[in-house]
Structure formats: structure tokens, C-alpha cells
Symmetry: C2
Amino acid sequence: MNFGFLLFPDLEELDLVGPWEIINVWRKYSNGPSCLTVSERKGEIVCAKGLKLIADYTFEDCPVLDYLLIPGGQGRKTEMHNQKLLDFVKQQSNNCRQIASVCTGAFILHSAGLLRNKQATTHWSALEELRALNDVRVDERRFVRTENVWTAAGVSAGIDMALAIIAEEAGEETAGEVRLYAEYYPDNKRYGTAHTNEKAPAYVK
Amino acid sequence: MNFGFLLFPDLEELDLVGPWEIINVWRKYSNGPSCLTVSERKGEIVCAKGLKLIADYTFEDCPVLDYLLIPGGQGRKTEMHNQKLLDFVKQQSNNCRQIASVCTGAFILHSAGLLRNKQATTHWSALEELRALNDVRVDERRFVRTENVWTAAGVSAGIDMALAIIAEEAGEETAGEVRLYAEYYPDNKRYGTAHTNEKAPAYVK
């Protein structure tokens, strides 16, 4: 089994690397998939905050994927109209056991035709835009699943979604072992008042 | 102001990218530092789980840093004996307002002489090794600070430490705004029984 992570310019770094870490650790504790990165072109990908990545594969030489994750970030505004990328996502999705987006990566899933009439979420600042598409049932939770299509809320929410995918595919005990390895026991200190912003998603309130 | 992130082969991905994301967002809400990556050599750095990165600078052309973060990962076992890397860390630390490690990056800080007689922590699986150094006061918390030297526990703990550094440098309101942007409101579901492992750190129990 393999798990592909889609790279594109201006992706949000933690959208990608939160799940990347968690899914890779799965392999350590049970028969987890082998992880790879894939992008449209060879060469350096500069992320939204400036981190520079190199993908393992291009769309042309990427193997058939059993799982696919799509991060968000400013770059999604371009990529949601990139037909070559959407065709890649659509084609791979036919074989995927599970397909997932983090943050505004949901808009790429939607453009690829994979969110219509499904429950989904995105970064809190883009919930209205997702609602305005009129064919997605927006659900303001940390992550949302309809059949084999998973969407996480903003940025760090991909970590929680990745653990839930492992629990689904390999059981709760394996998800717990991954959680211990990654020492994912956050302190939950909220700091100041920003979380009381009226635009904060329902699950935070 | 600038904030350097040290890259080396076999670093653990989330150790680096958790704080990278959080510190970069700081700049969005207040006068946060500009972030950069630095490695010993030019070219591709393959991380512990296979992600491929390219650093912005080498030790030779890296500017003077105001902050420095050192990730952990299997690669630290080599780098804690790499005199060129230790010299770079030591020299930059003279100018740093704050210097930080995540996970087993603490052993690089120690080899650079920056943890002696200080309180510190590391990944739970390396706590005994840190204790055996005999000159570090090991404190099993999510992150630990002594003066301007910060150490985080394993992998994801770097996110919590980065928020605390922002709260220290820019105030709690800014840290809260960064937290909202990164939607860092984890669901805390523990899954299974792994967290009851006797080797789990004190703060988890």
C-alpha cells in the first residue's frame, strides 16, 4: 500500500507535514502504507511560508495510490483551476481507499468533483466560501468524513484527521501508539482572546 | 530580526515544521522574525521519514541569527558529534535572544555546551539518555525553559513551545492569534492504551 501527499507551490507547510509525520509513523507500529510526495513538475516547490521541498514523483511517473492527501494554503487558489492537477486527483481517487484534504485543500477536492453533496469542512476563514458553493454540506468540526472522503479544518487539524484515518484502517490501539511516538498530548493553553472571534469554527466555541 | 531553523539529514519532520509554521505565522500578526533554514551543505536534505528539503543558507553564508531552533530525529546521533555543526550552533547562540530544541535535538544543544546545569527535556524514549549525561536537570514537561534556552518534548511538543516563545516575546494576545490562524485546538482523543505506557513522560500521566 502507498499513501501519496500532493505538493504544489504555496501549500501551507503544517497542512502537509502534520499528516505526513503521523502517517509515516503508522508504518513503524503496524502494516502502514509507504509514503511518497508527488507534484506536477520536477524541482523545488516553495511553500506558502517559504519552506523548500522536492517531490519524489511527478504526475507522469507516480504509482497508483491507495491513499491521497491534499494540503491547503494560498496556492490552492491557483491549483483549484489547474486542470492537469484536477485530472490527476480525479484519476487517482478511483483507486484510493481513502482520500483526504486539510484546510483549504478542500477546494481542490471540490474542483475535482469529489465533495458534491458531501459533508465537509475547511479552514475557518474559508467556511463561507465553502458554503457559497451550494453543493457541500459544511460541518464545522475538527475533521469530517463522508464515505472515503475526509476533510480537516485548518492547518493543525490534519494531525487529528490522520490519527482518525489510522484508527479506521488499523484500529485504535495502533492510532494510540502513533500518538505516543509523536508525543501528541497538546497542552491546550489558548492564550488571550482570539479563540472567541465570532469567525472561529463551531467546534472551538 | 530573524529566526533560523537548523536542517540536517534524518531530522524528524514535525519537530521542524510544527514550530516553522507557528513562528512564520507570528509575522502575520505582529512584528515577528523572518524565518530561514540553514544546513551544513547545499543540496537536498532527506529527513527521517523521507521528506526532501532544501535549505536557504549554509553555515558559511547564514546571517547572524536572533533565534535558532534545532529539531531532533535519528540524524541527531551523528550531528551531536559533528564539530562543524556544533561550532555553528555555539557561535550563533552568542547572539540569540532565544535558542530552542525539539525532541532529541536537545542532545545537539548539550553537545554544543548549552544545556549544562540547566533544566531540559527531550522525547520520552530518550529521557534516560538525557538523565545519564549527569549535568542536565531533566524535567518531564511538555517544554522546559531555563533562561533563554528552551527544550520541547517529542515531535509535536515543538508546536506548544513555539506558541510559548511567541507569548514571551510578543504577548499572549499575539500567541492566541497565531493559534487561531493555525487552528490549533486539538481534539485530545487518546486512542487505546499506549499513553499508559510506563515510559510515557510525567506530564502525560
